[in-house]
């Protein structure tokens, strides 16, 4: 049978306490205080839906071989490109084979579960071949809006297939409604919403019970049969009403994570599912429901395999890896909501030469280097002539995926001169574990976190953004870690 064989969550490290938003914007909209509790996860200045999806995907594929993937689906409503398949960028970052099926699922907040359903059904007809679903969002509300308070950034990834699932897929029920509670036009960056009371009473409170009831009817179950019911809903009162309507015990209902991460859009139901899987026991029935332009309800049953699953606490881990972003204007700058002065250096032309990037796609997207078959030296970017001065063999190289290897810091600095919206630029030389060296930018750290010899791991990030051509270009950075990557 088909089911989930791995899962991972990714929350960006930075968390913005909502009182920071209120302190800055409460003058405009005093009612924001109603939603000012807790904090929201904020993508770093070099993160977006694609990088967060890749981060979740990378964690999800730990101890799995990307070569076995048959499909990779990305769900997001905040893709950096309207035309250019972002799933392929994620696939490149994860070193997935090129002979896979890929697709971007977008347009609705239920796109995450739609992608999951598509992956499960594809795997079912493909003899259990693995399919990876990554969902991520990085939505924006206008300054001083309810959305700005509620939205958080994050990602989740689920690997599905037929080989020893930790949770079997047992059934689904979908609803599709053109119910326009929230929307974002093709040419805008901020969400708009119709009256909250209508969204709450005629949206969440109607559709989620309808989906749950529909699934129960189809699968001959009662809501009380489920160990956990997982659904996003940012109205506390509506959650109470929904639970009551369905006869759900509050202990049965997964936490909405609003205080911890905020509503992460398409990723949110899947993110909540990773938390549920972290805590689930064999035999538990889980009901996953998405919301937005309708609902998908998916029913899973946890298997004993979950007890053998390597490193279950992937949600708690990413939640715990946090740094306070205590500066609201920094958040605005990172999200390019307000322009800042970068000086003339920041205006220098950066032309993206796509034919060049294509030739080096595996090196750039996948951090693929070469390893000399003669002397074993790893080298990045991939070389044809071995760089080892004692070797020098020509054209005897094999590819090596360096993104999964860690490294160690050789030298570092923190640079106030480099033009960046997040000064200082922090970078240095890094030796890959197993040999070879390259200079990397360091991510998610300050100068104080760096030390010669300190281990790092690699993370897929935005390399630069070209506003003139609307190009987001990606590459890898090094993140200092406490423990060496095995």
């Amino acid at each position: 049978m088909i089911g989930i064989i791995s899962y991972a969550a990714y929350l960006p490290r930075y968390r913005l306490n909502r009182m920071n938003i209120f302190s800055a914007m409460g003058w405009l909209n005093p009612a924001l205080i109603m939603n000012a509790a807790g904090e929201k996860a904020v993508a770093g200045y070099d993160e977006d839906a694609v990088t967060m999806a890749a981060a979740a995907g990378k964690r999800c594929l730990q101890r799995f071989n990307p070569a076995e993937l048959g499909a990779l689906y990305l769900a997001t409503t905040t893709a950096p490109y309207k035309e250019r398949q972002c799933a392929n960028i994620v696939a490149g970052a994860l070193c997935a084979p090129e002979g896979i099926r890929s697709a971007d699922f977008t347009g609705a907040l239920k796109a995450g579960t739609s992608a999951l359903l598509a992956a499960l059904e594809l795997s079912a007809v493909n003899g259990g071949k693995q399919a990876l679903v990554c969902a991520a969002d990085c939505r924006l509300g206008k300054m001083g809006s309810l959305q700005e308070m509620i939205f958080g950034d994050g990602a989740a990834a689920l690997l599905v297939g037929g080989d020893k699932p930790i949770a079997l897929f047992k059934g689904s029920y979908s609803l599709s409604y053109d119910f326009v509670d929230q929307y974002r036009g093709a040419g805008t960056v901020y969400n708009r919403q119709w009256e909250e009371r209508w969204v709450r009473d005629m949206g969440f409170e109607q559709f989620i019970p309808e989906a749950v009831t529909g699934l129960c009817h189809r699968c001959d179950l009662k809501p009380s049969d489920f160990a956990k019911v997982i659904y996003p809903c940012y109205f506390g009162a509506a959650r109470r009403n929904i639970n009551k309507k369905l006869g759900l015990d509050p202990a049965q209902v997964e936490d909405d994570l609003l205080q911890e991460s905020g509503d992460t859009g398409t990723a949110h139901p899947l993110l909540m599912l990773t938390k549920a899987l972290e805590e689930a026991s064999p035999g538990d029935k889980l009901l996953l429901v998405s919301y937005g332009s309708g609902c998908d309800a998916l029913y899973f049953e946890v298997t004993p395999e979950i007890e053998k699953f390597n490193h279950r606490k992937r949600f708690s881990d990413t939640l715990a890896q946090r740094t306070e972003l205590d500066n609201y204007t920094k958040y605005l700058t990172w999200r390019r909501i307000t322009p800042v002065e970068l000086g003339l250096r920041g205006e220098e032309e950066q032309v993206t030469r796509w034919s060049m990037a294509w030739r080096s796609r595996k090196a750039i997207l996948g951090l693929q280097g070469s390893r000399c078959k003669q002397c074993g030296t790893q080298q990045y970017p991939p070389q044809r002539v071995c760089v080892n001065p004692d070797c020098g063999t020509i054209d005897e190289m094999e590819p090596v995926n360096l993104s999964e290897k860690g490294g160690k810091i050789v030298s570092y600095t923190s640079d106030m001169l480099a033009a960046t919206i997040n000064p200082p630029a922090i970078y240095g030389n890094v030796d890959f574990n197993g040999g070879g060296r390259a200079m990397f930018e360091f991510a998610d750290c300050t100068l104080d976190d760096l030390q010669v010899g300190k281990p790092v791991e690699f993370t897929f990030r935005i390399k630069y953004y070209d506003p003139k051509r609307d190009i987001t270009f990606y590459f890898w950075k090094a993140v200092p870690v406490a423990k060496e990557v095995s």
Binding site: Y427, R437, V452, F473
Partner: protein
């Protein structure tokens, strides 16, 4: 068997503009100014120059590509003119072209020029350009020169166990020394003596480098006319000619950037070019034999590690030598008697020739008492282009 160019080439004349912020001068003005001094010093006519080389790094900002700019600025009469570019070592690269032309016997008299107009960039520091090619922009950090050189300090500290505070103290002394020397030099860009406290408390540019650890970004030009020792003695019978004892360039092989052996606390090319130059010049004890040096102090930390890379200070002991004044103007081996890149300034393409200009005039004992290195007979220039992990290093040795 190659024998090198030791004693095969003499410097006949040199010129150098004041370096600084020449808002009113073009590259052509700077070249003409250096040329007037140079040709007067050489005591020849323009028509006697048979070939020329021009070193310039950032062609986008001023002189463009090719050799035409120099030829048409000086209206050189249809002689071969070649533009060379090898990062900040471009000036020495031009000098090498001219020297090899003479040493080979192809020409009797050749001109080497270097020029850079940095103050038309629009911001401080060097302009942001893909110096290692377009692909590097897609991969490597959006780094700056100070950030790349600053890493020498963190790696040096780790390698030798020298605390960052002591490194900061040593590099502060380096900048203090350059300001002391620059203050005495009417052609230097920065001519103000500053206190060590002012230096060490300046704002960080790239940890641990502060503003005063970074060299001046300047406009300027420098030039040399070279010939054979015989012709030099004929034209200037009463002057012992300044001869090229060695001229070596070493270029990174990619080992530093890609292979895990280099320590990051030194410049590999400097070590190699220096050894080759000492061999060419017949120097076995550089610390004792060399009388003065002009090194590529683009950043104070570069000068610090260079003292070891040139095998003057023993490994791990450059900070001690520096702090005890070994390299001061009145020390055992004066380094940067003209103020160096730090205070004389750094118009990239001109710097290598400016260093040679200083050594040349010191050897000829032309400078006033207060900044003269008395009885100097052997001088070294070290001109580094690129960044610690990927660079071009030239070492020239000049002597009487």
């Amino acid at each position: 068997m190659a024998s090198g160019i030791r004693d095969k080439v003499a410097i006949l004349g040199m010129g150098c503009t004041a370096f600084g912020e020449h808002w009113e001068l073009d590259s052509s003005d700077l070249l003409i100014e250096a040329f007037r001094e140079c040709i007067a010093d050489a005591r020849i006519g323009k028509e006697e120059i048979q070939a020329a080389w021009i070193g310039n790094h950032i062609d986008e900002v001023n002189i463009g590509k090719g050799g035409c700019y120099l030829a048409s600025t000086l209206h050189l009469p249809f002689i071969p003119v070649t533009r060379v570019e090898n990062f900040c070592a471009s000036g020495t690269e031009a000098f090498r072209g001219a020297c090899y032309a003479v040493a080979s016997g192809a020409y009797d008299i050749a001109l080497a020029a270097g020029v850079e107009k940095l103050k038309d960039v629009g911001y401080g520091g060097l302009p942001d350009s893909p110096i290692f090619g377009q692909l590097s922009r897609l991969i490597y950090p959006n780094a700056t020169a100070p950030g790349l050189f600053a890493q020498l300090a963190t790696a040096y500290s780790a390698k030798y166990g020298v605390p960052m505070d002591k490194i900061k103290e040593a590099i502060t002394h380096i900048s203090w020394k350059s300001h002391q020397n620059g203050a005495k030099n009417p052609r230097a860009h920065l001519r103000r003596a500053v206190s060590e406290e002012q230096i060490s408390s300046s704002p960080f540019v790239a940890y641990p480098l502060g503003l005063f650890d970074c060299c001046g970004v300047s406009d300027g030009a420098a030039m040399a006319i070279v010939t054979t020792p015989e012709i030099a003695r004929r034209i200037k019978p009463n002057q012992e000619p300044v001869l090229v004892k060695a001229l070596q360039i070493a270029v990174s092989s990619g080992e530093e950037a890609l292979y895990h052996r280099w320590d990051g606390a030194s410049i590999l090319t400097t070590r190699i070019a220096a050894q080759r130059a000492y061999d060419e010049a017949g120097i076995t004890k550089p610390r004792e034999e060399i009388d003065l040096m002009e090194v590529h102090d683009c950043f104070s930390i570069t000068e610090m590690v260079t003292m070891e890379d040139l095998a003057i200070s023993p490994p791990g002991q450059a900070p001690d030598d520096i702090l005890k004044g070994f390299y001061d103007l009145d020390g055992e081996l004066p380094c940067q008697s003209d103020g160096g890149l730090k205070c004389f300034g750094h118009p990239i393409g001109a710097s290598g020739l400016r260093m040679i200009y200083e050594i040349y005039n010191q050897l000829l004992q032309r400078w006033p008492e207060d900044r003269l290195v008395k009885n100097a007979r052997l001088g070294l220039t070290h001109n580094l282009g690129g960044v610690p992990h990927q660079n071009v290093c030239s070492v020239a040795i000049l002597g009487l």
